[in-house]
């Protein structure tokens, strides 16, 4: 199986720093792409493979923290390792709260950087996996009609067919028929599995009121 090579993006306006980081990371076996500004990185599409960004905080134009916000606004989940010439505590706290992997003051040791990068990549990998799973689950659930989706929700809430019928204002028989459809489409019979699928898809579990 072809293991996708982890990709690391380096974003720093200083040429020496860029060069030295790229050299180190490449030597460690990573694929590296460098950017001179946050804007340039923003224009680059999100990678398919697990990736992380080594991002300088202070840059002319869009700064590192602003980039973090911009990415979040676009729904991207880039794993960021911040590096900075400033040891600014409020800045660091803000970055971490917003989901950064780490915040390294310059000059950092190569060990510290590589460790943070490894963590970031692991997180990225996990996320990507989770994302893949979610997407798959969602894709599966998308097969259901809206009516079937409603039944599904009530099923994962733990309701019996009769109760679902009462809740939805349909006959129990209809519910039974719909349940059959769900099972066929999703390939799942047990409610427990449905629950898990719902969780994977990110569907809230307590969707209905019990009567």
């Amino acid at each position: 199986m072809n293991v996708p090579q982890p990709l690391i993006f380096v974003v720093d306006d200083d040429a020496s720093v860029r060069r030295s980081l790229a050299r180190l990371l490449r030597h460690e076996g990573y694929a590296v792409e460098t950017f001179t500004s946050a804007e340039a990185y923003l224009e680059h599409p999100a990678p398919d493979v697990p990736a992380c960004v080594v991002l300088d905080v202070r840059m002319p134009g869009l700064g590192g923290l602003e980039l973090q916000q911009a990415l979040a606004g676009r729904g991207r989940v880039d794993q960021i390792v911040f590096i900075t010439g400033h040891g600014d505590v409020p800045m660091c706290a803000q970055a971490m709260k917003a989901g950064a992997v780490d915040f390294l003051p310059k000059p950092f040791t190569d060990d510290a950087l590589l460790e943070a990068v490894a963590r970031a990549l692991a997180r990225a990998k996990t996320r990507q996996q989770k994302h893949a799973v979610r997407e798959r689950a969602r894709a599966r659930l998308a097969e259901l009609t809206p009516r079937e989706m409603e039944v599904f929700r009530h099923l994962i809430a733990g309701l019996l067919n009769k109760q679902i019928g009462a809740a939805l204002g349909t006959a129990e028989h209809t519910v039974k028929l719909q349940r059959g459809q769900i099972t066929a489409k999703l390939g799942i019979t047990a409610v427990a599995d449905m629950v898990r699928l719902a969780q994977q898809a990110g569907v809230p579990l307590a969707a209905v009121e019990k009567t």
Binding site: D13, R23, P60, G85
Partner: protein, 574 residues
């Protein structure tokens, strides 16, 4: 004798209309009477006209009388400087008059007696090889008579004794003794200084105060010295001579007493013997009084001191003025440098964080590169080519760090006031290098519009850099809240005619406040949350110190434009 002659001549010139030729024959007291000398004198004046013979004091009188007898018996004679008693001896001679002075011994003794009340013994010593027995006898007579009148024992120590013996004798004087000395003693001493020294020894040894009759004042340890003011005497003799000329016969002119006798007292000796200076006769001199220089010459002293004081005051005033001016100038300069330094520091503080960041970049790269190289080597020897590259990068970054530090040092150094010739371009390049980190940190772009062929400036480079830095920082501050697109600063430089260069810093911020630019220049007025607000005041003072002017206006298209004009200088073509 010089003084006598001066007095004599002056008086003659004053009183007698026709010029008078004066021949003087000075007989040294030390020279013994000499038959050869007499014959020579005779020969010299045998055929000369002599209208008058003036003889001075004892020896002179003796010689004069003998001379007249031999050479010109008909010439009138004035006998001067002898006592009245002595004069009586010659009174019977024809055609003679005199200027007598007989307070010598008497006057001094009277003063001495007053100073030393209760004196019981008067010791007398006189003589020396020059005094004749006759002289000695006469002086002694005066002293003897005085002692008798005062009820004092009179002791004559004069005689052929050795100096040592004399010292013994004066040492052995009983209490309440006085020692009177006439002229020099101690035979054999021909030099005056030797005689003075000898007298000092006597004075020190004597068991009582010493008083002296002398021809001239000498510091010989005497409490009081009677001397003759020979100038005065010369005058008196001159006057008497004129009287004789007028009268035709000296006998028709009565002898006159001289007023030339002077008493001088030595304060130090008086102190030594505890003698009261208040008992001194009026009109006498008191010498060597310790604080007394002041008292004695108080009038003169005050005058001199006042004059000096005025002069000194003047001088001091001038010096102070000059020093004040220099100090004021240097204080002004110092103040400006202080402000400049403060500005630098303020700017520094603002830039410190970005400069630290600036320093961190090369450091980070160096550390990272070193780490990479380590790893390469640890994994079993790295590629030399790659390692070489890494080391090169490390070295380059080290240099870069050094330059940043140099830049910081340059900013903090104080005290440059020298002017140098620079081009506008050079100035701006230097400033840009310094402000680059801050500009990047703030996300501001700096553009340049420098006209070609600008005349050069003669300025203090550091101060002008301060000006530009300050204007740029203000521009950055003004654009703090503007979007990235608006964060632009343009430095513009153009010539206005041959003699002026105009440099401006333009931003795209909100522009000048409605109150106008002038408020901005008011010291400490600031619209910034941080920052000193002092900047523009210093900027203006620097520009004006360079002979330029500073102004501000709103720019077309938004933002403010701060501009300054400076006089230009043409570089001398080499």
């Amino acid at each position: 004798m010089v003084e006598f002659m001066e007095g004599f001549r002056d008086e003659l010139a004053r009183q007698w209309p026709a010029p008078v030729a004066i021949r003087m024959e000075d007989i040294s007291p030390d020279a013994p009477a000499d038959a050869t000398f007499d014959a020579w004198l005779e020969q010299k004046y045998k055929n000369r006209r002599i209208d008058l013979i003036a003889a001075l004091e004892g020896p002179g009188t003796k010689l004069g009388v003998a001379f007249r007898n031999k050479v010109r018996p008909a010439a009138p004679m004035v006998l001067a400087g002898i006592s009245a008693g002595r004069y009586e001896v010659f009174r019977s001679l024809p055609n003679v008059t005199g200027v007598t002075i007989d307070q010598n011994v008497r006057g001094l003794l009277e003063a001495a007696a007053r100073l030393c009340p209760g004196t019981k013994h008067l010791f007398f010593v006189s003589g020396g090889i020059k005094t004749t027995e006759e002289e000695r006898r006469l002086w002694r007579l005066d002293a003897e008579q005085f002692a008798a009148a005062e009820g004092m024992e009179f002791v004559d120590l004069t005689g052929p004794v050795t100096f040592a013996k004399l010292l013994e004798q004066v040492r052995a004087m009983p209490p309440h003794s006085l020692l009177l000395r006439r002229d020099t003693i101690v035979g054999g001493l021909t030099r005056a200084s030797d005689r003075t020294k000898a007298m000092q020894q006597i004075s020190e040894a004597a068991n009582g105060p010493l008083f002296t009759i002398a021809d001239a004042y000498a510091e010989d340890g005497s409490n009081g010295t009677g001397t003759v003011d020979y100038r005065q005497m010369g005058k008196e003799v001159g006057a008497q001579t004129v009287a004789v000329f007028k009268a035709g016969d000296a006998s028709a002119v009565p002898p006159v007493p001289s007023a030339a006798f002077r008493l001088s007292f030595d304060w130090r000796q008086l102190q030594r013997w505890g003698l009261d200076e208040k008992r001194l006769p009026p009109g006498s001199d008191l010498r060597f009084r310790q604080p007394g220089l002041w008292e004695a010459h108080r009038g003169t002293m005050i005058g001199i001191t006042a004059a000096l004081a005025v002069q000194t005051a003047l001088i001091i005033a001038l010096l102070l003025q000059r020093r004040w001016r220099i100090r004021a100038e240097s204080a002004l300069r110092q103040q400006r440098e202080q402000l400049s330094h403060t500005l630098r520091l303020a700017t520094m503080t603002q830039m410190a964080s970005s400069l630290a960041h600036e320093l961190n970049q090369p450091l980070t790269a160096m550390v990272t590169n070193a780490g990479t190289a380590r790893r390469m080597i640890a994994r079993g020897g790295g590629d030399p080519a790659e390692l070489g590259e890494i080391l090169q990068d490390i070295a380059a970054d080290g240099q870069r760090a050094g330059e940043v530090i140099r830049g910081i040092r340059g900013m903090v150094r104080r005290g440059e006031t020298a002017l140098e010739i620079v081009t506008v371009a050079e100035l701006i390049v230097g400033v840009r290098r310094m402000i680059e980190p801050e500009a990047r940190a703030r996300g501001c772009l700096i553009g340049e519009e420098i006209a070609p062929g600008l005349p050069t400036l003669e300025v203090n480079t550091v101060q002008m850099q301060q000006v530009l830095l300050n204007l740029l920082m203000n521009a950055f501050d003004a654009m703090e809240s503007a979007g990235s697109a608006a964060r632009r600063v343009v430095i513009r430089a153009e010539a206005e005619g041959d003699a002026t260069v105009c440099v401006s810093v333009r931003d795209f911020g909100p522009g000048l406040p409605p109150e106008g630019a002038e408020k901005l220049f008011e010291q400490y007025y600031t619209t910034k949350v941080h920052g000193l607000g002092m900047g523009l005041v210093i900027v203006r003072s620097i520009i004006e110190a360079h002979g330029g002017s500073l102004g501000a206006a709103n720019a077309d298209g938004g933002g403010a434009r701060f501009y300054f004009r400076l006089p230009a200088v043409r570089r001398v073509a080499t």
